[in-house]
Symmetry: C2
Subunit: 299 residues, 2 copies
């Protein structure tokens, strides 16, 4: 298993390195005329990043009896889906962001066509990774991972959330609509990251529901802090353009609640997330630390 006992910072770095090594193998550089799309896939997946979602998958899996390889393969698949979503969201027709994780976004480093294809390739490959028998000996487990990822990433999850986000540029959303948008756009994939560990570990219903409830609160707290960083943070700290939401007149948690109430709401959700972990022993301390980290992060 991974050494996850040196505190959150060390554990995040350890999982980040291991997930990157796994993605390096799963998304190799290839020769041939198709090489550019693989280069762009690698650029998007292996660039700098917090690797928060893969960490949640590995930390959740560590609560159960799950091997290192299954845990890292699922974590890698999740990061590949996250990377694809960033590549497509950054496109000129979508959020039009030239900067991502402190570097040119994929369509700037390559071109738009290659970026679109790289996103498609990463999404496709992620499902292939989950369905491969190296991920789990039980095909029913692999199918459940595929099915749940498709739900979390699709029209009722991340893709639908991004659609609402685009609609929100032309239409003022209220607090309920913004909460739903964010639950779909980022919350579902964060929930899947935690749930995936439980699926791999064939966990009982109770711990599985506890992890989903934890992830639900964590995801919302995470997003509120994202809005706070967009309103208050600096480009140097966050590695992406800030002030984007206000510039577009987009309603966010911050524009509706104000800075102070948004910050308090994020802290409340973080405490609530930790409360859902009461049925786990100290093995869940890293997940508790993540919930604290998410509301104090500066990028």
């Amino acid at each position: 298993m991974l050494a996850l006992d040196g505190g959150l910072d060390a554990a995040l770095r350890e999982v980040g390195r291991a997930v990157d090594a796994m993605m390096d193998r799963l998304v190799p550089a290839v020769p041939g005329l198709e090489a550019p799309v693989f280069e762009a896939m690698r650029y998007a997946a292996l660039g700098p990043g917090k690797r928060l979602r893969p960490f949640l998958a590995v930390a959740s899996a560590s609560l159960f009896t799950v091997g290192r390889i299954p845990s890292l393969r699922v974590a890698a698949a999740i990061e590949m889906v996250h990377s694809y979503s960033l590549v497509h969201d950054d496109l000129p027709a979508m959020d039009d962001s030239d900067l991502r994780r402190g570097r040119p976004s994929a369509h700037k480093a390559f071109d738009e066509a290659t970026a679109i294809l790289a996103g498609d390739g990463l999404l496709t490959a992620a499902f292939g990774v989950l369905a491969d028998e190296a991920t789990h000996s039980d095909p029913a487990v692999r199918c459940e991972l595929v099915r749940r990822l498709a739900e979390a990433a699709g029209g009722h999850g991340m893709v639908g959330g991004q659609m609402i986000d685009l609609v929100a540029e032309r239409q003022a959303l209220d607090m309920g609509a913004i909460t739903r948008l964010q639950r779909m756009k980022t919350g579902e994939m964060i929930a899947f990251s935690c749930e995936a560990g439980a699926i791999l570990g064939k966990a009982a219903a109770e711990p599985r529901h506890a992890l989903k409830a934890y992830a639900h609160d964590l995801g919302l707290a995470f997003q509120i802090v994202d809005d706070l960083l967009d309103a208050e943070g600096s480009e140097a700290e966050t590695g992406k353009k800030v002030g984007q939401d206000a510039a577009r007149g987009k309603a966010t948690f911050v524009s509706i609640l104000g800075l102070d109430r948004a910050r308090e709401q994020a802290r409340m959700l973080s405490r609530q997330a930790i409360g859902h972990l009461d049925l786990f022993d100290q093995k869940a301390d890293l997940l508790r630390d993540v919930a604290r980290f998410v509301v104090t992060r500066r990028s």
Copy 2:
């Protein structure tokens, strides 16, 4: 089972109707602010089209003992992936086609952002359909479908082929490179369509390989005829712009072989495809008819 005994035309229509009804259920219209992405998914998947790939899946499955629902779910998933690929390929940054299947392409009927998301949503949903237990009672079968679809549609298959197609606009390809391009871009998904029927039917190695060999020749014949139609066909007949390849100076089977030799090559591949079906009885007659149809079609 589907009534497939009235000749190819009737069988194509029958399967087309049944697959469309299945996609209508699998990709429903939804209320809520995310509605546009589902509308665009339905526009792309349910528009006019030959439904050749789903037909190949259903006709291949009919050689084995496969139920109607599994067969149609797999056929629908394949058509959803095909539709996503058309939506993304038509984008301004890719092939920049305003017309598809006789109608405005998705980014013209909606907008670019919605079209990108609709493609992503269709691709994601297709994997969810395959992994769902309604597709087959044996999860090992479902996993194999997911894994093989990911191979056929990903960087080593369709996505890689489209990448090479973009490279080909700036670089002259020889016959070997064009053959590889087309095998990846269209051949792999055509091969998966046939193979999927065998996977669903838990077919032995021999019939499975025969179907793949059939599909390999069929796919190449199909593509050569596509090039012929682009060189000789009319927009009214094909429902898309013609003369595109020559206008872009792109090397195709036709530009390298010339019209006559390209036509002869397609006929030879069609005969060769039919030869691979010798181990099947008259149940494979529809697949034989498809191989004849593919080289005589006018759109």
